[in-house]
Symmetry: none
Subunit: 191 residues, 4 copies
DNA sequence: TATGAATGAGCCTTCATTCAT
DNA sequence: GATGAATGAAGGCTCATTCAT
């Protein structure tokens, strides 16, 4: 019989790659990068250990690719650089969207928070993470600046922190956190 | 030389116990619970591995005791149950104190945040953590309730989240975070 | 297009077989039998892993066939059994040829020396190796015997050893080894 | 009970270190550096895998320390630098001693030959190996130079090669190699 | 015939924990 | 109480080999 065509193989690899990454996100989120064993990840993905290494150079590489692609997708959704200015409607949309993504990719954001407090692991991805956060802060500074607020940087950093804090609390116990009401207050107070 | 009295022995044990816990907090904060090896902790404490196990049953037990006592100390400082009511001055003091403790026990809080995102580890300490957070939330609900605010629980949870978020951001990069300005805004908006 | 004839097919197989063996010799020589991965060999040969296994039963089998054929070729060149006697001119030719083959098949000889010191691998090929060495030793014993030398076996084994030792040193660092001068001395002293 | 004294521990470590190294030499010699698993080495030494790593940083480090100390001992026996000149008696002694050491440390020399043909492993120890070989070559060049020989370097390299070749052949099959007779011829022809 | 995705045993290494001293 | 040598399970990773296509 003839071997699989190149296209078939590319397809297989694309799908399996995503499968591995998704399994890894779940396990990383639950157990931390260090606590997640490759064995567990591959078991969850239903593949052999060896196969993971034909897709990713190492466990670190796997993490990196997850974070990199996750952030790229996130940035794409917001595309915050479209003109660099934020209107009040856009501000509302921004806060809204942040929290709705949170509900969609819970595992990914759990992973995000577990990384942020682990300097050793952070180093692997921090440049990419800064790439994500920095433009948002810039745009917020601009936003508060335009509103005539005296200390726009403090406002920007505070809003960023609030988003982090709310996300964190929501993620830890999504069922009991009053996300919508909290969101309303944030928009009301910081728009 | 006369043999040590019982009191002296108890004292020695108490001090050594604290020494081990403090060394552990530092190493845990820097390397995560899983990344910190018992070897490193004992080396930092200047004791043998065997001795650590005469004070703590296991690495997990060591973590548990650190968290439990840390939280007890924290609660003591605020003693939020003294009368169950919060005045506006006390509110300001509360926010203020929260952040000043943050600066004092950076290591402990780093550890705290690294735990909060790990379900597996969380289980070990989550009852104790709820014991910490719950009374504060109750008092804040009361506080906003009295002020005639419509959704006091959402306000309380939001303020808790803000404190978490700001703490997290401050801890990750203390030198560049405008803690004082941010604090001012929080008090202004949420008092 | 007409289908390939049986002869063409046999030819293709023969060539591909040689291609794989040559790639393997290079990789084995560079990385040792154990250090050379099948992946590397197939990559060097430009074929798939599966195909290699349709030509050779295993990595060990591949090694065996390389050694067996290498030795057969070597024997053919000298054909030492043509009459069982060695003249002085033939002796000179023999030493000369040995070293010139060394320069031609460096990879093969590197492999040869890496095997000779590994009992486990040696077992695979040692019968064949004895088949190679023995007739040469016999002829040399005869040669020195005829010259009236008292201990012809010791002379024969010494000459064999010298050829090994010089080959080894030349192979390890061909650029700095004074092969021609050394050859001259050998012929002078042992003819 | 009181813990072991420092001296007791140093003693334990010294002995166990030697035990591990000796076991390793045997296994390395038999299987090659790459082919020898840490498991096998520790099994031969009768210890756990973990313990080996409290004595040596890695398998590579273990090899390095074996080679380094082996060579230091070898150099000490000859102390070739005592005056930099070689008399004819000393030459005889030198050849003699070389072969007698061979019989004593067969495993070590097998290891030596297995390294020489593995560039990747060689790199780990080649500086040390050059440190061993170079002075000998220098002294031999001097020796032949003084004798008025035209090409002393070729003589020196040849003698080195002969020693290698004879050692190699002797090591592969000690029982059938006529070491003493061969030695006599070497001394006769190259003194 | 030819491919390369997939497997799993085995490799080197780390580390929480034990225990003789 | 105190030490640190010793263990062994588990972790990340590699690679010869198989097999569906």
């Amino acid at each position: 019989m003839s071997p699989r065509t190149k296209e078939q193989n590319i397809d297989i690899r694309k799908n399996k790659r995503k499968l591995i990454m998704n399994s890894a996100i779940e396990v990383f989120a639950e157990k931390t990068f260090r606590g997640a064993s490759v064995s567990l990840i591959t078991k969850k993905a239903g593949i052999s250990k060896g196969l993971l290494y034909s897709y990713f150079e190492s466990k670190e590489d796997l993490l990196k690719q997850i974070i990199f692609e996750g952030i790229d997708e996130f940035i794409e959704v917001f595309n915050p650089n479209k003109d660099g200015v934020l209107t009040e409607e856009e501000f509302t949309y921004f806060v809204d969207k942040t929290f709705s993504l949170l509900g969609q990719d819970t595992h990914f954001w759990k992973l995000y928070f577990s990384l942020i407090v682990q300097p050793a692991v952070m180093e692997l991805v921090q440049d990419k993470l800064i790439e994500l956060v920095d433009p948002f802060i810039q745009i917020l500074v601009e936003y508060y600046s335009k509103k005539g607020i005296e200390n726009p940087m403090a406002y920007a950093r505070l809003l960023g922190s609030i988003l982090d804090g709310v996300s964190l609390n929501y993620i830890v116990d999504p069922e009991h956190f009053p996300l919508n009401e909290v969101k309303k207050i944030i928009i009301e107070k910081f728009k």
